[in-house]
């Protein structure tokens, strides 16, 4: 029985990057615990997004590209006065941004800054660049190998002592220019607000729990409390990755009624096993 429980526990987790079922440093289980704690709802069908304009949809690390109809639904949700936050460091996701009518574009680059939190070039500190409800009172945000953004209104940007490491030597060389890079940008679309974060890694467990800059957790908490209705995209986001078995196991773990049924069934099976075992003996 103990072995079976251990096997089930083992099968209920994964090591996939950004997966909510990954409790390791590169998963987002902590983020989704926070979302659960904030009463968030998982959304798998954009056509079912609510109509009112008081929602925040969190779309962390898009994976598959949504079809046009789903982009259209997202766009409608945004234009109705809601808020959408997309966190991605891949240029492929510019099609998603374009599809929902945004002018913000993600540019993949190895950004290195003299302002870093950890002793590694991937650790880049971004600073607030103006007044925004997302950044007020949070003096910095620590990125983990971020890309940068073009367009929109910068919300967080690196200091001027940052550069694109074009030759990969992790130091400022000839032809590499010091400049400021936008890490979080904002754009008003219709009645809604789109935030784009060029580094989904700020949401991974390692950046929220282990020796972290506390501002990152504050930033996530601010996102989760920005609007009364909190939603998390779970169809196209890589945070939903984990395979069918993990989904089934976590469905059982997370749904109370199913959980109760599963426990009853296990107890029944265990009782039967004992009864037949005794008769055999």
């Amino acid at each position: 029985m103990l072995g079976a429980i251990l096997v089930l526990l083992h099968l209920s987790v994964t090591t996939a990057d950004y997966s909510r079922y990954n409790p390791g440093w590169n998963g987002t289980s902590v983020l989704f615990d926070m979302i659960d704690g904030a009463g968030g709802t998982m959304v798998t069908d954009p056509s079912l997004l609510p109509g009112q304009g008081n929602g925040m949809l969190l779309f962390v690390a898009p994976g598959r590209e949504p079809p046009d109809q789903d982009k259209e639904d997202l766009r409608d949700f945004l234009f109705r006065g809601n808020c959408v936050l997309i966190a991605s460091d891949r240029e492929e996701d510019n099609e998603l941004l374009e599809g929902i009518g945004s002018s913000i574009r993600i540019r993949r680059a190895d950004i290195i800054s003299v302002d870093r939190f950890f002793d590694d070039p991937s650790s880049v500190i971004a600073f607030p660049t103006g007044d925004d409800p997302l950044s007020s009172g949070i003096p910095r945000l620590v990125g983990n190998d971020p890309s940068f953004l073009e367009g929109g209104t910068p919300v967080y940007a690196t200091s001027l002592l940052s550069f694109r490491d074009t030759d990969g030597d992790q130091r400022l060389g000839k032809g590499e220019v010091l400049e400021r890079f936008t890490i979080v940008s904002r754009e008003t679309l219709g009645n809604g607000t789109l935030y784009v974060v060029s580094d989904p890694s700020i949401f991974i467990n390692g950046m929220l729990v282990a020796n972290p800059p506390t501002e990152n957790r504050d930033f996530v908490a601010r996102i989760l409390s920005l609007r009364p209705v909190l939603l998390a995209e779970q169809n196209y986001s890589r945070t939903a990755e984990g395979g069918p078995l993990i989904r089934v196991i976590n469905l059982v773990k997370n749904a109370t009624s199913i959980e109760m049924a599963a426990i009853t069934l296990s107890m029944l099976l265990f009782g039967l096993f004992l009864a037949f075992g005794r008769r055999d003996a």
Binding site: G3, D17, Y18, G24, W25, N26, D89, S113, V114, D115, R116, F117, F118, D119, D120, S122, S123, I125, R140, N144, D145, S159, L160, L161, F163, R171, L172, G173, K174, E176, V177, L178, P200, S201, I204, G206, M207, A210, N211, P212, F276, G277, D280
Partner: protein, 588 residues
């Protein structure tokens, strides 16, 4: 059936666990953050060390200071507050020094910041010369008035010539200052800093130049004019580069038949050489352009301290320098750096070349006549990135740097590993000898203590009172032990005759007892057993109580030191006899 399945599953799981563990047998650390430090998109923060953050907050204020300080500095020079100007200059230099350190620490020596730093250093040099020049200018004005009033025309002329040279130099400084303008302002704009201080310094600098020029224009006619030149001087070429020869030829045209005499040639108001003119008053000097700043330089000649030539000038242009460093060699813990410095095909001599290890200057070498340099540096064991740098200061040469080399300075072998040194060192020999003597003394002491104790002869009781002996044996009966294996046969004289126990030592009795017991307990090597082991080996036998009583007393005799009371000795002897009786009974 079910049990078999469960058993099979358990066995399979066990094999699986062993296989997994076996895969990690050669790297026993199953997990650490460092072994799982990177994924495609991010780095594991748990494997990273926190460092000082927001280092730009230290650089930007320094850049702001370097841009802003010259405003007040030049204003103080213009208003003749030279003490305040000196303080400003010191602050400016301090800021530059701090910026240098940060640029090296943050590995920004190839950024615009590095260009800004070079421009700042150039400006610091210019402003220092402006400060000195302006102070000297004021002194010259006062001296000129004094010599004019005293009627010392020779000195007055000399002062005016120096003043003219100084004026040209300050004009040159202004031009050089403007050359740094672009990079200073562009850096200020980029960092969104207030550049009004620098702009103000340019305005004030221009005012200083204007005031000097305006004051001298009205006197220019009083300098030696073409019609009354007592000393002719020509300087050629008017443009020169590092290593070129500038010819300075002239002739004294003073009245009189013999114009032979001493003539001094001044470059930038400093006496460069004193020559003897020919009988016709001609003179010639070849000046080699080496350690002189790029820019315009003034030349005039003074015959016998009283006759002045017109002021001539030539311009030295800066050219690129080429610095080459050979791959550094590590010898006896020192790093040998050798290389050459050239300007085109000309070797640069007497130039300082800085050697940097990981960005930090660790040595300065001087170039020789052939442009070569060499420096031996002692570095701590580590790997360094070593390169050479030439800043070009005081030379009409542009700065240059060599290629970087990775140099490994190995950890030196420990000093004590040299065997020769060990034998040569008398202290080592004394210490080793001392240890040997102590060991020998200890061994001797142990051997002496180990000698068996011979107990005095004692009268044994005729008939022991053994109440619990299960099989009483008549006293004096010979014990006939069963046959022993060949290797365990007791030596002659070890047969167990109770009557032989007189004058036998305790160790001998114990030895006999041990052999006797070994036959009961089937012990293979009875001679290796301790008293307690002999006692323990008799567990579950009838002789246990007597054997243990004997061995207990024996331990007290042998290990506790000192003798036993008579009653105790008697009890031991009784126990010994009882063992012999039992072993000699009907069961054996």
């Amino acid at each position: 059936m079910m049990q078999r399945i469960v058993l099979a599953a358990g066995v399979l799981l066990g094999i699986l666990c062993l296989a997994i563990a076996g895969m990690h047998a050669f790297s026993p650390l199953l997990y650490s953050p460092a072994s799982d430090s990177r994924a495609t998109d991010h780095v594991n923060p748990m494997a990273l060390k926190h460092v000082t953050s927001e280092r730009s907050a230290r650089i930007i204020p320094l850049v702001a200071d370097i841009i802003g300080t010259p405003g007040s500095l030049v204003l103080n020079i213009r208003s003749k507050d030279f003490a305040s100007a000196s303080r400003d200059l010191q602050e400016y230099r301090d800021s530059l020094r701090n910026l240098d350190t940060l640029v090296i620490q943050l590995d920004l020596d190839e950024s615009e910041i590095a260009g800004f730093r070079r421009a700042g250093r150039e400006n610091a040099q210019i402003l220092a010369e402006l400060l000195n020049g302006t102070e000297r200018w004021d002194d010259l004005k006062a001296l000129e008035v004094r010599f004019r009033e005293s009627g010392d025309t020779a000195m007055e002329t000399s002062i005016r010539y120096e003043g003219e040279t100084l004026k040209r130099k300050i004009q040159d400084l202004y031009r050089e200052y403007l050359e740094q303008d672009d990079i200073i302002l562009s850096t200020g704009d980029k960092f969104e800093l207030d550049t009004s201080g620098h702009r103000k310094s340019i305005t004030e600098f221009r005012e200083i130049v204007n005031s000097i020029t305006a004051g001298e224009e009205e006197k220019e006619g009083t300098l030696a004019g073409p019609g009354e030149i007592p000393v002719l001087l020509t300087v050629a070429p008017d443009r020169a580069f590092y290593g070129d020869i500038v010819r300075m030829d002239g002739q004294v045209k003073a009245a009189g038949s013999n114009n032979a005499g001493e003539i001094a040639i001044f470059i930038d108001s400093a006496r460069n050489i004193t020559l003897r003119t020919g009988p016709d008053g001609s003179f010639s000097h070849s000046y080699r352009v080496e350690r002189v700043r790029a820019g315009t330089h003034t030349v005039f000649a003074v015959y016998e301290g009283s006759l002045f030539s017109p002021i001539e000038s030539f311009t030295v242009e800066a050219v690129p320098s080429v610095l080459q460093l050979e791959p550094p060699r590590v010898q006896n813990g020192k790093v040998l750096c050798q290389g050459t410095l050239f300007a085109g095909s000309q070797p640069v001599k007497g130039a300082p070349v800085g050697i940097r290890a990981d960005g930090k200057q660790v040595a300065t070498a001087q170039t020789k006549d052939d442009g070569s340099f060499s420096a031996e540096i002692r570095l701590n064991p580590a790997t360094y990135s070593v390169r050479a740098e030439f800043q070009g200061e005081d030379f009409p040469l542009l700065p240059s740097g060599s290629e970087s080399y990775e140099v490994l300075v190995p950890v030196p072998p420990p000093a004590g590993s040299d065997e020769k040194g060990f034998f040569i060192d008398p202290l080592s020999l004394v210490v080793v000898s001392g240890f040997l003597c102590l060991s020998g003394a200890g061994a001797l002491y142990y051997l002496r203590r180990r000698k068996p104790v011979i107990l005095p002869a004692r009268n044994l009781p005729a008939s022991p009172e053994i109440t619990d002996a299960p099989a009483p044996v008549p006293g004096g009966e010979q014990v006939s032990p069963p046959a022993l294996p060949a290797e365990m046969q007791p030596e002659p004289g070890l047969t167990l005759h109770p009557g032989d126990m007189r004058d036998v030592s305790w160790p001998e009795l114990f030895r006999r007892l041990r052999i006797a017991v070994s036959k009961v307990a089937s012990l293979r090597y009875p001679q290796s057993l301790t008293p307690r082991e002999v006692c323990a080996s008799c567990r579950d036998t009838r002789i246990r109580e007597f054997v243990c009583r004997f061995t207990s007393g024996y331990e007290k005799v042998m290990y506790a030191g000192g003798g036993l009371p008579r009653e105790e000795e008697d009890r031991m002897m009784e126990a010994y006899r009882a063992v012999l009786r039992i072993l000699g009974g009907k069961d054996h």
